[in-house]
Structures are given as structure tokens and as C-alpha cells.
């Protein structure tokens, strides 16, 4: 075969098509580009840059609304310009920005990242702006998660809640009566028995969301099992994970968790990320952020109970996104004005909490939310006041949460619990030791 004639024809047709293709592409891009342009309202003013995580669409809209209100109320000050980042990339973005000295003025911090960011000097302390009265108005978990080595670095407008949702229809058919109060939380055997009873009525008794794309869910959702059993993820004081993360309490608690999956009471991976709303799961181990979606799901009658306990008492997670002033901020007073606006019960907390279903972070804010007196939200509030715990505040939190999440993913697929946790403990210990070496060599 001679390829030449075909190639020549082809060449001629390319000459005709190629410019047209380029024009089409450019026009498409230009049309699409117009839709994405920023509003011109804040142009020409000094800027206060703010970074926030993506969250749910409603949450993002609420935050944009708060920013607009702030900018309208402060025509003379710097205008707030907010950028949103996908949750999974957010922490990486901040480390990279910090390495280039390009942090925004105000950063949203996921609770457990207060430790690493404060340790690396990315945040300025807020103590100068926060008096005792204000401090006392916040939930204890909020103060705890924002505090690193006795300084307060971050405050949030809301806190989170981790519960086990249940489907009332299925519960009724299975003849179960889930507890309402933390003190009455099921022990592990009761919990398992309940899942067994629910099994005939659903595809999967319990949704655990083990295949969530991010790492943080794993630590947030399942560290409470270790805490409830009297264990810990890390000994912050002595900088140790070996013997802690792979200690007997942790191994025992996580073994119980693994059996849920290996015994077919929960799934390690699910094609449907929202089994519970579809009525395919009786229980859903999940956070407050699913509450608005569940409430809007037609035909879903549900309630929530505290996490089952692996030890003497039920422990749950707390902590959520909060706000801090970055090291690179040149006008901390202006930054604080914005944070104070975000934390104001009426202007900041109310709109954001209405959008994301989270728990208001200030006691004075509960007056605006009568719904926290009953139902699922009452449980959220009760947990935060009695049984919730912030994740450990340590410089190596990133390594800790990645390693722990990796271990749990493997354990969910049947790996040996003690070996997987030991590997995670070693990996974090390695990081701790190298950090110590760097610090000592730097002296």
C-alpha cells in the first residue's frame, strides 16, 4: 500500500479543519468564561483574602452571603475576597501557600489541623482579641480544638456532631428501641444484636462510608471507638504513637469495628454513597452535615442515637472548620473584625448553621435555635456538652490521620488489625522522630 495519496488528502482536510477547530474551542472557552467571572462590586478596594473549604453548595452560598453583607457594612475597610477549595486539596493548598509565603489573611482551618499549622507558625494567636466573657460563651470543644500549647489560634462558628442515624420504619419492623441520651448508649453487643435484627429488612444494616475519598472521615468517625475503650491515637506529651495507636485498647476497639464488616453487618465499599437516604441501610454512621439532606428526602422517617460504646461510656467526635488569622496577614485587626462577624450569632452563625445543619458554637446562639430543644439536634447539643472530644492537637496530625485512615481502609478489607495499626504507629513515629531530629539539628 502506498500511504502517500491518502496522507495528502488528509493533509488538505486538516488545513481546512484545524483553524475552524481552534476558533470553535476559543469561542466555547470565551462563552463559558463569562459565566465564571467574579462580581465587580469589590473592585478597587484593598483586599482581605479569605480561604475556605468547599463544603456543601448551600453552605458555600451562605458564606458568600455573609461576606457580601460584611463588605456592604464596611465600605471603608478592606473588602473580603473569599476563595473556596475542594476539601480534599484544601490542606495541601495551605501548606504550599505557606511555603511560598502566600497565605491569605484569614484561613479556615479544619479543627485537627490547628495543631500542625500552629506548630509550624502559620497562625497568629487570637488571645489578644478574645476576652474571658467571649471565651466562656463558646462550647468547650471549640476552645479545645483551637488551643495549641496554651494559646488560642482558631475559633469556629459551629461544631460538628457524629451520631448513628436510624430509619424508623425499619427499626419498628425489627422491634428495636434505640436510646435517646448519651448515658443510655448501647454497648457493643447490643449494637451488634440490633444490626443482626435489622439485617432481614435491608440491603446493608449499617452504612459506615469507609470508601469516603478523604482521610479525615476515618479518624473523625472511628477514633471515638478507641477513646471509648480508654485508648488514644497518640501520646501528645511524650511524642509517641508506638504502644498507643497500636496499644491493646486501640486494637480491641478496632477489631470490634472490623467484625462489623467481616460479619456482613456493614459494607467496606459501596457503589451508592448514600445508602441510608435510599432506604437501603437501617443505620447510618454519619455526621450532622447529612441532616439537611435527610430531612429533605421524601419518605425518610429517621432519628439518631449516640454512638455505641466499646468501653464504659459513649464518646463521640467534635471539631469542625474554624477560622484563624494567618502569619502573612498584614492587618490582623481587620482580619479579626471579619472573624468576629462570622462568629456573631445573628449575622454569622445563624445563616451558616441554617445552611449546613451544624451545631451553633456559642451558648448565646442557641437562643436563636429552638430546634435544639428536641429531636436529633437535641442529641447533637447533648453530646457536645457531655461526650464529645476534639481530635489530638499535634504537629504530626497529617501523618497521623493519613496513616490511621490507611490502616482502617486495609482493616476494613480484612487486614490483621494489630499489624495494620502497628504499621501506622511506626509510620507516625518515624515522622515524630525525624521532626525531633530536625529540631535538634537546627539548634
Amino acid at each position: 500500500m502506498s500511504s502517500c495519496p491518502a496522507a495528502c488528502v488528509h493533509r488538505a482536510s486538516i488545513r481546512r479543519v484545524a483553524p475552524a477547530a481552534v476558533v470553535a474551542l476559543t469561542v466555547w472557552a470565551a462563552i463559558a468564561g463569562c459565566a465564571g467571572r467574579e462580581s465587580a462590586a469589590v473592585k478597587g478596594r484593598a483586599r482581605l483574602t479569605v480561604w475556605a473549604h468547599h463544603g456543601q453548595p448551600a453552605e458555600r452560598e451562605a458564606l458568600a452571603g455573609i461576606v457580601a453583607a460584611f463588605n456592604a457594612a464596611h465600605p471603608d475597610g478592606p473588602a473580603v475576597a473569599i476563595s473556596f477549595f475542594p476539601d480534599r486539596q484544601y490542606a495541601d493548598k495551605v501548606s504550599i501557600a505557606s511555603a511560598t509565603g502566600r497565605l491569605p489573611d484569614v484561613v479556615e482551618v479544619d479543627g485537627p489541623y490547628v495543631g500542625p499549622w500552629a506548630a509550624e507558625g502559620l497562625l497568629k494567636p487570637l488571645d489578644g482579641f478574645v476576652d474571658d466573657a467571649l471565651r466562656a460563651d463558646f462550647l468547650p470543644t471549640i476552645i479545645a480544638q483551637g488551643t495549641f500549647q496554651d494559646c488560642l489560634y482558631a475559633l469556629g462558628a459551629f461544631d460538628s456532631a457524629l451520631v448513628v442515624y436510624y430509619n424508623r420504619d425499619i427499626i419498628a419492623r425489627a422491634g428495636l428501641a434505640p436510646p435517646e441520651h448519651v448515658a443510655d448508649a448501647w454497648d457493643w453487643a447490643t449494637f451488634r444484636a440490633a444490626l443482626e435484627k435489622a439485617k432481614p429488612y435491608v440491603a446493608v444494616p449499617l452504612a459506615l462510608h469507609v470508601d469516603e475519598p478523604g482521610d479525615e472521615w476515618m479518624t473523625y468517625a472511628f477514633a471515638p471507638l478507641i477513646w471509648s475503650n480508654g485508648g488514644a491515637l497518640i501520646d501528645v506529651q511524650h511524642g509517641r504513637t508506638i504502644g498507643v495507636l497500636d496499644g491493646p485498647q486501640a486494637v480491641a476497639a478496632i477489631t470490634k469495628w472490623q467484625r462489623l464488616i467481616t460479619d456482613g453487618l456493614a459494607e467496606a465499599s459501596s457503589v451508592n454513597p448514600n445508602l441510608f437516604a435510599a432506604g437501603d441501610a437501617a443505620f447510618d454512621w454519619s455526621g450532622h452535615w447529612m441532616l439537611p439532606a435527610f430531612e429533605q428526602t421524601a419518605g425518610l422517617d429517621f432519628g439518631a442515637m449516640p454512638l455505641p460504646r466499646t468501653g464504659d461510656r459513649s464518646v463521640t467526635s467534635a471539631g469542625s472548620w474554624c477560622w484563624g488569622i494567618s502569619r502573612d496577614c498584614r492587618d490582623p485587626a481587620a482580619a479579626w473584625r471579619f472573624i468576629a462577624w462570622l462568629l456573631d450569632p445573628e449575622r454569622g452563625i445563624k445563616p451558616i448553621v441554617e445552611a449546613n445543619g451544624a451545631v451553633p458554637a456559642r451558648r448565646s446562639a442557641f437562643a436563636l435555635f429552638p430546634e435544639y430543644d428536641s429531636g436529633v439536634r437535641r442529641l447533637f447539643r447533648e453530646q457536645l456538652e457531655t461526650s464529645a472530644r476534639a481530635r489530638p492537637r499535634t504537629a504530626v496530625y497529617l501523618a497521623l490521620t493519613t496513616s490511621f485512615a490507611r490502616a482502617l481502609r486495609d482493616i476494613a478489607l480484612g487486614a490483621d488489625v494489630a499489624a495494620a495499626l502497628h504499621q501506622a504507629a511506626e509510620s507516625v513515629q518515624h515522622d515524630l522522630d525525624r521532626r525531633r531530629a530536625r529540631r535538634e539539628a537546627g539548634r
Binding site: 493533509r11 463559558a32 465564571g36 463544603g55 476539601d87 486539596q89 493548598k93 511555603a99 511560598t100 509565603g101
Partner: protein, 286 residues
């Protein structure tokens, strides 16, 4: 004629169609799944029905557009790719021409180093490259964040050893008569390169432009490291927007995937024959 061409058994056409169907099936499934309600995507998997967009809906596409800032990411990616390819043509073309036509001391030595550096994938030096690029972060104050990021996404990839190599092969294969006539007329080397060599190298230039287009349209790791602000992201990073808060909508993800693939498929469809041809010949003469 190659070996297989003569052995034309009756089985060849059906066998080829079967293999073709297997290759194309995932893409067809992706297109079909993007056009049906989310809840159905994983329900219909046990039959050939999963390859039909039934019941038909465009809701995934509207969700994808609403969530992805597609316009911004598309503009960014296009700018990056155009800068890389455009600057690349000039810079790599000039270097390739020098290696092909001029004799100067150390030429072969220099060219040897260049060819060796082809094996250095960006993925390996992504961390130190980031360390290098971040030293210019101060320029963000003058340029603005978006232009700075777009520059950081494109400038490091304009000069490319592989493209220089490819273009040099092309110049070597080209007759010199015209160039020598121009030189005798008193034209300088730069003029010869700009007026004669470069315009005559169009097929090879199309090839390197297409290669750049493909490679950098699909860049993921470097933008992941460099992009910060929302308005600086590229199309591949835009995928991250869909993996934020649960529940994840697979339908919207597939719709977005198809939207960002379309321009590339178009570019490929237009230029793939040239691409393959000049890569293959470069190997032959190298």
C-alpha cells in the same frame, strides 16, 4: 505489505469488530451513564441495558456545569496549553535548527546531554521544581495570582528536550538548497530560520503542538501542586470539585469527564496521523 495483511480469513472482520467493541465499551458506558439518573447507574449493570441512556436525562450535565466552574478552568487550561505550544514552537524550533544546521564547538556534546534529559520525567522533579518556582512567588504581588499561576503552569514546559529532538530530525531531513540560496544572497542565519526553515517545518510543528496540547491538557500533578485560588485551576483539577462533601454524584462526574475530554478528542481526531508519523520517523533516523 505487512505480514498479516494477506492472511485474510473470514473470521477477521467479526473478530476485529469484537475487539473494537471491547475497547470502546467503557467509553460508551460512560456516555450512557452520564445521561441517566444517578440512582440507575449502578442498578442497570447486569445487562446490556446499562449501555443505553434510559431513562434519558440531562440533569447530570447541568449539575456538572453548576459545580465545576468549567468556564474558568477551560480558559485557564487553554491559556496554559497555548502558551506552552506557541512558545515551544519558537524556542524549540530555534534550538533544533541550531543543532541541525550550525556547526559550533561542543554541539554534539550539548546535544547528547539534551537527549539524555528526555528521560527526566517532570514527575520526578516536581518537588524541587516547586521549590524553584516558589522563589518567584513575590511576583504575584505585581502580576496578580491568576497570571502568576498560569505562568507557573506553562513556562516550565515550553522548552522540551523531546520536541527539540523531534524538530531537529525534521530539519535534518529537509533539503538545504533553499536555505543555501538565501545565505548566498546575504541573509543571516536568524532570517533563514524564521523565513525559510520554520515555515517549511509545518508538519513537524503540528506534531509537537499536538503533543504539547495532549500532554498538558491532561496535566494533573503539577497543577495539583501549583494552583491555589479557585480561578487558577485547570480542567483536570476541576474534577476535585466533585469529591467534596458527600453524597458524591457519579453521574455529574462522568458528565464533567466527557465535557473535558471532548476538546482533546477533537484535537486528536484532527491531527493524529501526523503525530504518529513524525514520531515514528524520528526514531528511524535517530
Amino acid at each position: 505489505m505487512s505480514a498479516l495483511r494477506r492472511t485474510s480469513g473470514w473470521w477477521q472482520a467479526p473478530a476485529a469488530l469484537l475487539v473494537a467493541a471491547l475497547f470502546i465499551a467503557p467509553v460508551v458506558w460512560m456516555a450512557a451513564a452520564s445521561l441517566k439518573p444517578n440512582a440507575r447507574i449502578h442498578r442497570d449493570v447486569d445487562s446490556l441495558r446499562s449501555f443505553l441512556p434510559e431513562p434519558f436525562t440531562l440533569e447530570n450535565y447541568s449539575a456538572a456545569l453548576a459545580r465545576s466552574h468549567l468556564g474558568t478552568t477551560l480558559v485557564n487550561t487553554l491559556v496554559v496549553v497555548v502558551v506552552i505550544a506557541g512558545l515551544g514552537v519558537l524556542v524549540n524550533g530555534a534550538a533544533a535548527f541550531a543543532f541541525a544546521r550550525l556547526s559550533f564547538r561542543g554541539r554534539d556534546w550539548l546535544f547528547g546531554i539534551l537527549v539524555a534529559s528526555i528521560i527526566l520525567p517532570i514527575e520526578v522533579i516536581v518537588i524541587p521544581l516547586f521549590m524553584t518556582v516558589r522563589t518567584s512567588a513575590f511576583a504575584m504581588d505585581y502580576l496578580g495570582e491568576r497570571p502568576w499561576t498560569l505562568a507557573a503552569l506553562s513556562l516550565p514546559f515550553a522548552a522540551k528536550a523531546f520536541n527539540i529532538f523531534l524538530l531537529r530530525q525534521h530539519f535534518l531531513s529537509h533539503p538545504r538548497a533553499l536555505e543555501e540560496a538565501a545565505l548566498l544572497d546575504g541573509a543571516g542565519w536568524i532570517t533563514v530560520f524564521w523565513r525559510i526553515a520554520l515555515p517549511n517545518a509545518k508538519p513537524a510543528l503540528v506534531t509537537v503542538v499536538l503533543l504539547d496540547f495532549v500532554v498538558h491538557w491532561n496535566d494533573f500533578l503539577w497543577p495539583l501542586v501549583v494552583c491555589q485560588g479557585q480561578d487558577t485551576r485547570t480542567v483536570q483539577l476541576g474534577m476535585g470539585n466533585f469529591f467534596t462533601q458527600p453524597p458524591i454524584s457519579w453521574g455529574a462526574i462522568l458528565a464533567y469527564a466527557l465535557l473535558i475530554t471532548a476538546p482533546l478528542t477533537l484535537a486528536f481526531a484532527v491531527g493524529q496521523r501526523w503525530l504518529a508519523k513524525s514520531i515514528a520517523t524520528s526514531g528511524l533516523r535517530g
